[in-house]
C-alpha cells in the first residue's frame, strides 16, 4: 500500500509540476472563452445590415401581412437569437447613415421590407428596375406575389444569394402564413379570430410525481455528462497511455518489477494520472464558475431544476466513465511500444461511448424497458445510459448500486489484465504483441 502511494505521488507530482501542465491549465479556459466569444463576435460582425427585400404585390392584399411577419421576426421563435447569415458588406467607414440605422434595427427583425408598386409601369420594367438595384447592392432581393396567388399561384423569390436557406425559409413561411390568413379572412372569418387561432401553444411538461419538470434540461444534463466524459477521456487518455509506456521506453520497468507487484504499480499510475486530470478539471470548473459569476454581475446563475442527488450520481458516473475508459488506455498502453500505436488501438473502444449516446435516445423514450436495463448494466454504456434513466424515471436503488458495482469491478479487472500484460510484455523486449500472445501472457504471468 505504501509502495502504491509512492507511485501515485510520483506520477502526480511529476506531471503537475511540468510547464506543459501549467500552460495547458491556463490556456484551457482561454481557449474555451475563445470558442464561445469569438463566434458570437463574428455573428455581430456579419449582422452589418438586415436583408433588404422589395415586394411586388399583384394581389393588392398581401403586402401588409407579409411585411409585418418578416419585420417582426415572428417566425423565428426559438432561433430568433441567431442573426441571418445573409452576407452583407459590414458597416464600415463608407456606410451610409441609413445603413447604420438599419443595422440598429436588425437586432429585432433582420428584414427591411419595401413595397414596389407598379404605378402604371409594366411588370418587366419594375423587375428590371429592382434587378438593377440588386446589382448595385441597394437591395438584396425581391419577392413577386402574382395576382392568382390566393387561388393556386406560385410566388417568386429573386435574390442575390439564393443559396442562403435561412432567408428562403423565412420568406417562404411568411408568405404561407400571409396567404393562409388572407384566405381565412376572405372566407368571412374575422381578423382577430384569425390572429387568435394562429397563436402557437407552449407545451408544459409535468413529471408523474406532479412537479413540473424540465425534460429538455435533464436530457442536456446527461448529454453534457457524456460530452464531459468523452472530452476528458480524449484529453487524458493519452496521458495514461504515456505514463504506462514511459517505463517501457526508458527500461525502468525492470527495477520497478523487482520492487513492487505489477497490480499496485498499474493502479498507482492510473490513480496518479487521474488525479492530475481531476486537478486540472477542478481548476477549470472553479475558473468557469468565478468568471460566469462575474459576467452575470452578481445575479445568480439559474441552474436547471435538478435535485441534488442527481449531482451525486453525476459525479459517481462521471468518475466511473472516466476510469473505465482510462483503463482501456492502460490496457492498450501495456500492449504497445509507442503512444501513436496506442491511440489508434484505443479508439474503437472509446467509440463505445458514442454507442451509449445512441442507446440513450431509445432509453429516454422507454426508460424501464429491458433494453434500458441491460444497457445500463453494461459498464461501457452505464455512465450515460444509467444517468438517462435516473433523470427520466429513476430506477430502483439496487439497480443503480449494481451498475456502479459492475463498473468498479470492471475497472479493477481491466487494471489487473493491464498489469499482467505489462509485466510479461516488458520482458519481451521492444516488440508489439499480437492478440493471441497477449492472451497467453495474461494467463502465464
Amino acid at each position: 500500500m505504501k509502495k502504491f502511494l509512492a507511485v501515485v505521488k510520483r506520477e502526480y507530482i511529476q506531471r503537475v509540476r511540468t510547464k506543459f501542465f501549467v500552460v495547458a491549465t491556463i490556456l484551457g479556459p482561454v481557449m474555451m472563452a475563445a470558442f464561445t466569444v469569438v463566434p458570437a463576435l463574428m455573428f455581430t460582425i456579419k449582422a452589418g445590415g438586415p436583408t433588404r427585400l422589395a415586394i411586388i404585390d399583384q394581389t393588392g392584399k398581401l403586402y401588409e401581412r407579409v411585411a409585418k411577419d418578416l419585420v417582426s421576426g415572428k417566425d423565428r421563435r426559438g432561433r430568433s437569437e441567431a442573426p441571418e447569415p445573409q452576407m452583407q458588406p459590414p458597416v464600415g467607414p463608407d456606410a451610409s447613415k441609413e445603413q447604420i440605422n438599419q443595422a440598429g434595427k436588425m437586432i429585432k427583425g433582420s428584414f427591411v421590407v419595401e413595397e414596389a408598386r407598379l404605378d402604371k409601369r409594366s411588370l418587366d420594367e419594375v423587375k428590371n428596375d429592382l434587378e438593377a438595384r440588386i446589382q448595385s447592392r441597394n437591395l438584396d432581393g425581391y419577392v413577386l406575389l402574382p395576382s392568382d396567388l390566393l387561388k393556386n399561384g406560385q410566388p417568386e423569390f429573386r435574390a442575390r444569394n439564393t443559396a442562403d436557406p435561412f432567408t428562403r425559409d423565412t420568406v417562404e413561411s411568411a408568405i404561407s402564413r400571409a396567404v393562409r390568413g388572407q384566405r381565412l379572412v376572405d372566407a368571412g372569418i374575422k381578423e382577430e379570430a384569425v390572429e387568435k387561432a394562429s397563436q402557437p401553444v407552449d407545451l408544459k411538461t409535468i413529471e408523474a410525481g406532479g412537479k413540473e419538470s424540465k425534460g429538455e434540461a435533464s436530457f442536456f444534463f446527461v448529454f453534457g455528462l457524456g460530452l464531459l466524459i468523452y472530452m476528458s477521456v480524449l484529453l487524458y487518455g493519452q496521458l495514461v497511455l504515456g505514463a504506462v509506456i514511459e517505463e517501457k521506453e526508458t527500461r525502468i520497468a525492470e527495477i520497478l518489477f523487482s520492487s513492487i507487484r505489477s497490480f499496485p504499480l498499474m493502479m498507482g499510475k492510473l490513480v496518479g494520472v487521474s488525479l492530475v486530470a481531476l486537478t486540472q478539471m477542478g481548476i477549470w470548473a472553479a475558473a468557469f464558475l468565478i468568471i460566469s459569476a462575474w459576467v452575470a454581475g452578481g445575479s445568480s446563475i439559474t441552474l436547471p431544476h435538478i435535485p441534488p442527488i442527481v449531482f451525486v450520481y453525476f459525479s459517481l458516473y462521471f468518475l466511473m466513465g472516466y476510469f473505465i475508459y482510462s483503463t482501456v488506455y492502460a490496457v492498450v498502453g501495456s500492449m504497445v511500444t509507442t503512444t501513436q500505436e496506442g491511440g489508434q488501438l484505443a479508439m474503437p473502444v472509446v467509440l463505445m461511448l458514442i454507442a451509449g449516446f445512441f442507446l440513450s435516445f431509445n432509453i429516454i423514450r422507454s426508460p424501464n424497458s429491458s433494453l434500458a436495463f441491460w444497457a445500463s448494466m453494461f459498464p461501457f454504456f452505464a455512465p450515460i445510459t444509467m444517468l438517462v434513466r435516473i433523470v427520466t424515471e429513476t430506477p430502483p436503488l439496487w439497480q443503480i448500486l449494481l451498475s456502479l458495482g459492475i463498473g468498479a469491478a470492471t475497472i479493477v479487472g481491466l487494471v489487473w489484465v493491464a498489469s499482467r500484460i505489462y509485466r510479461v510484455g516488458m520482458l519481451m523486449t521492444g516488440k508489439k504483441a499480437t492478440i493471441p500472445e497477449v492472451w497467453r501472457w495474461v494467463r502465464q504471468a
Binding site: K3, V7, E254, I255
Partner: protein, 304 residues
C-alpha cells in the same frame, strides 16, 4: 564458510520462452559475504537467471530459495538490483529519483534522506542532487543507478554488468565500493561477460554457456585445477635455451612475453636456474595461472 547456510539456492531451475530455452537445469549456491560471479558470453542466460532471482519472472520448473525461504514478494525488499539495461526517469531530479526508488523498497522519511546524501557524497555526485537526470553524463547516471540498488541496505546485491560505460577512474571507484559492501557482510552476485573483471573481484564463480552451467566453484580452486605448468618469460640473448624437449613442450609469443609450456612434471625452477646460469638477462619470470577466459574456452570446447 562452507558450512554456513547459503544465501541463495537454485535447484534444477529451467525457464523457456516459447521454443527458446533461456536457462536449462541450473543449480547453484551463493554463500553469504562473498562475491559470486555469474559469467558467460552474451545470451548465455545470465539476465534471465537474475530476473528469476529478483522475482520478475518465475521458473518453469525447479525451485529458488533465498535467505532460507521460498521466493516471495516480501523478500524483494532485501535485494538490491542493478539491471543490465539501465533505466532512470530522465526528467526527475537525482535526489527525487533516489527517494522514489527508496520508497519502492520501503525506505522512507529522514533515514532515506540521510542515506541518499551519504551515497551521493561517496560517489562524488552531491553537486548533482538537484539536477535533472538527463543532464548527467552516462557514467554519472550509471552511478545514480548503482545507488538505487544499494540505498535500502539490502543483504543481497545483484549487479548486472556494473562496469559497462564507466571510465577507468569510476571502474576503480565501483570496484572499491563493491569490496566495501562485501566487507560489510553483504552477499554480491556479479554478472558479467568481462572475465578479467570477474577474475579480480570474485570469490566464487559459476560459468554458464548456452543456458547451461559449464562449471562452478571457488575461483582459486578452479584456477589451480586448470593450472598447466606454464611460465611467462622475458629475457635478452641466449637463443635456443628453450629448445629442450625434456623440459619445454612448446613455446609461443604472447605480446612481449614468451610463454613456455613445460613438460608435465617438470619443475619451473630447473628452467629458471638454467637461464640464470647461462648468463642471459632475465627481466621476467612468472608462473602463469590460466585465465578464466582460457578455462572457459577450454570447458566449452570440452562440452561441445
Amino acid at each position: 564458510m562452507d558450512d554456513s547456510q547459503p544465501t541463495l539456492i537454485l535447484d534444477h531451475v529451467t525457464k523457456s520462452f516459447g521454443e527458446f530455452t533461456a536457462v536449462s537445469d541450473l543449480s547453484l549456491q551463493v554463500r553469504p559475504g562473498r562475491v559470486f560471479g555469474l559469467i558467460g558470453p552474451n545470451g548465455a542466460g545470465k539476465t534471465t537467471t537474475i530476473r528469476m532471482i529478483v522475482n520478475i519472472t518465475v521458473p518453469d520448473s525447479g525451485t529458488i530459495e533465498l535467505f532460507g525461504q521460498g521466493m516471495n514478494t516480501a523478500l524483494q525488499d532485501r535485494i538490491g538490483y542493478l539491471p543490465e539495461e539501465r533505466g532512470l526517469y530522465k526528467r526527475m531530479k537525482v535526489g527525487e529519483q533516489l527517494r522514489f526508488f527508496a520508497e519502492l523498497k520501503d525506505l522512507r522519511g529522514a533515514e532515506a534522506n540521510k542515506r541518499i546524501d551519504a551515497w551521493l557524497e561517496k560517489l562524488e555526485l552531491s553537486a548533482w542532487k538537484e539536477k535533472r537526470t538527463k543532464e548527467l553524463s552516462k557514467g554519472m547516471q550509471q552511478k545514480v543507478q548503482f545507488i538505487t540498488a544499494v540505498i535500502h541496505d539490502p543483504d543481497l546485491v545483484i549487479l548486472d554488468e556494473p562496469f559497462s560505460g564507466l571510465d577507468p577512474v569510476n571502474v576503480d571507484l565501483m570496484k572499491q565500493t563493491i569490496l566495501e559492501q562485501r566487507a560489510a557482510g553483504k552477499t554480491i552476485i556479479l554478472s558479467t561477460h568481462q572475465m578479467e573483471i570477474a577474475e579480480k573481484l570474485c570469490d566464487d564463480v559459476c560459468m554458464i554457456n548456452k543456458s547451461r552451467k559449464v562449471l562452478d566453484g571457488k575461483l582459486r580452486e578452479i584456477r589451480r585445477s586448470f593450472s598447466r605448468n606454464a611460465v611467462a618469460l622475458q629475457f635478452e640473448g641466449g637463443d635456443g635455451l628453450l629448445n629442450d624437449p625434456a623440459l619445454v613442450a612448446n613455446t609461443r609469443q604472447n605480446g612481449e612475453d614468451i610463454e613456455a609450456l613445460l613438460v608435465p612434471g617438470a619443475n619451473p625452477q630447473t628452467l629458471l636456474k638454467r637461464l640464470v646460469e647461462s648468463g642471459v638477462d632475465v627481466s621476467k619470470f612468472e608462473l602463469v595461472e590460466p585465465s578464466l577466459h582460457d578455462i572457459f574456452i577450454e570447458k566449452v570446447k570440452e562440452t561441445a
